[in-house]
């Protein structure tokens, strides 16, 4: 959690810095009266790096992936629950009462 989260924070900071650099660059271009065609190379690199950091943080921080395969161990249903709403008490417990006398003490 700690490391992944820090990477995410770093990624967001990178993105903000890239945005700030682009704005600054545009301001510079306006002064020099040149046409804006795209951000400079180092800003694009920073942008990509921030993007990768953010994605990796988004994939690791919230938790592990769950399997969607129906035959995986987590999803494979091996038995149905006993239908407890329809449970009936007519069974061998009636004939074989448990020997230990249990009692609720209060």
């Amino acid at each position: 959690m700690g490391l992944g989260f820090m990477v995410g924070v770093l990624g967001v900071l990178f993105l903000f810095h890239a945005a700030y650099s682009t704005i600054q660059y545009r301001g510079l271009l306006k002064i020099m009266e040149e046409e804006f065609s795209g951000p400079p190379m180092n800003v694009v690199l920073e942008l990509l790096l921030g993007f990768v950091f953010c994605i990796s943080a988004a994939l690791t921080v919230p938790g592990n992936f769950l399997s969607i395969h129906p035959d995986s161990e987590e999803n494979r249903i091996v038995s149905l629950s006993a239908n407890l709403d329809f449970m009936i008490f007519n069974h061998r417990a009636k004939a074989l009462p448990s020997e230990t006398d249990m009692k609720l003490k209060h």
């Binding site: 395969h69 035959d71 494979r76 249903i77 006993a82 449970m87 417990a93 448990s98 249990m102 609720l104």
Partner: protein
């Protein structure tokens, strides 16, 4: 529904609790969540928590859930005085509760006082005619008295109102199977597969019923559903693998001489047989001979 990981977790906890390793409350929670019937153990460990004032007060409001769980388990074990004491404690805390009223009805059922239980349930239904659990208790009561046709009738009436209740559909299917009314049971299982198509056990049960019905068409459908069970379980269900083998052999016998043109997926049964042999070799090597001779007698 109990998945494979949940099953291993339950077994591990059960072992741990049985050997005095603690974790009784976690075990009881898991039993409640998975809705498995472990009444004797729930009674034993639940009661030991309830009888220990320190542990009991540590549960907070969960204490009352435990009382209910232990009460039902005690009825299942015919420890009626424990059940009565639990219900008394619950009644003191929640004097007007319907849920406790239901427990009282169940206690009467466990005692075999059917008429009184019926009266309790009827009065509860008057207050809330759409209480699903009470309706189900009435069905169970009819079944417990041996009045199976009455149970079927009221269950059908119940399902007309609450069509999405798959537990009830399953109960109806099982009752029909127990009466050998397979046609009706197939309808229930179809309903179950429609509502929960990813549960392999419904596919398996449907295939079993169709195989029991027999006839070429049913056998072919049954084989398909065994195959879908294999698909959903990743081939880890032995019964489905055996079912495919049996269906293939039965289809071969039924359509003998009729010279069927469609020999669909001829490799299916040999693959199933191979998977079975592999599984037996891994888990029960000494029974491999039995399996191979059984498969040979099916002529596949």
């Amino acid at each position: 529904m109990v998945s494979k990981t949940e099953e291993t977790q339950l077994n591990r906890l059960e072992n741990q609790v049985d050997n005095g390793g603690g974790g009784a409350w976690e075990y009881l929670c898991l039993v409640r969540k998975l809705k498995v019937r472990r009444s004797e153990k729930v009674l034993k460990y639940g009661l030991s928590i309830l009888n220990d004032p320190k542990k009991r007060s540590a549960l907070g409001p969960e204490e009352w859930t435990l009382y209910e769980q232990v009460a039902i388990a005690a009825m299942d074990c015919q420890c009626l005085n424990v059940a009565k004491d639990c219900i008394k404690a619950l009644l003191k805390k929640f004097p007007e509760s319907k849920r406790v009223g239901r427990l009282e009805g169940m206690l009467l059922e466990a005692k075999g006082l059917w008429a009184e239980a019926e009266k309790v349930y009827s009065s509860l239904l008057e207050d809330n005619p759409l209480d699903q659990v009470i309706h189900k208790r009435k069905v169970a009561m009819a079944k417990a008295q041996g009045n199976i046709s009455g149970a079927i009738e009221s269950l059908n009436k119940y399902l007309e109102i609450f069509m999405a209740d798959h537990d009830a559909w399953r109960e109806l299917a099982e009752i029909y199977v127990s009466l050998q009314m397979y046609k009706q049971a197939t309808f229930c299982y179809e309903e179950l597969i429609l509502s929960q198509p990813t549960v392999p056990l419904y596919h398996l049960a449907y295939a079993d019923v169709l195989y029991t019905l027999g006839g070429l068409e049913n056998l072919q459908t049954s084989k398909k559903y065994y195959a879908s069970t294999i698909d959903l379980t990743g081939g880890k269900n032995t019964r489905a693998l055996l079912g495919v083998c049996l269906c293939t052999s039965a289809i071969g016998q039924v359509s003998k001489g009729r010279n069927k043109e469609d020999k669909e997926s001829p490799e299916l049964q040999s693959l199933a047989a191979k998977a079975l042999e592999k599984e037996y070799r891994q888990k029960a090597d000494d029974k491999l001979g039995l399996l191979t001779s059984a498969l040979r007698s099916l002529k596949i």
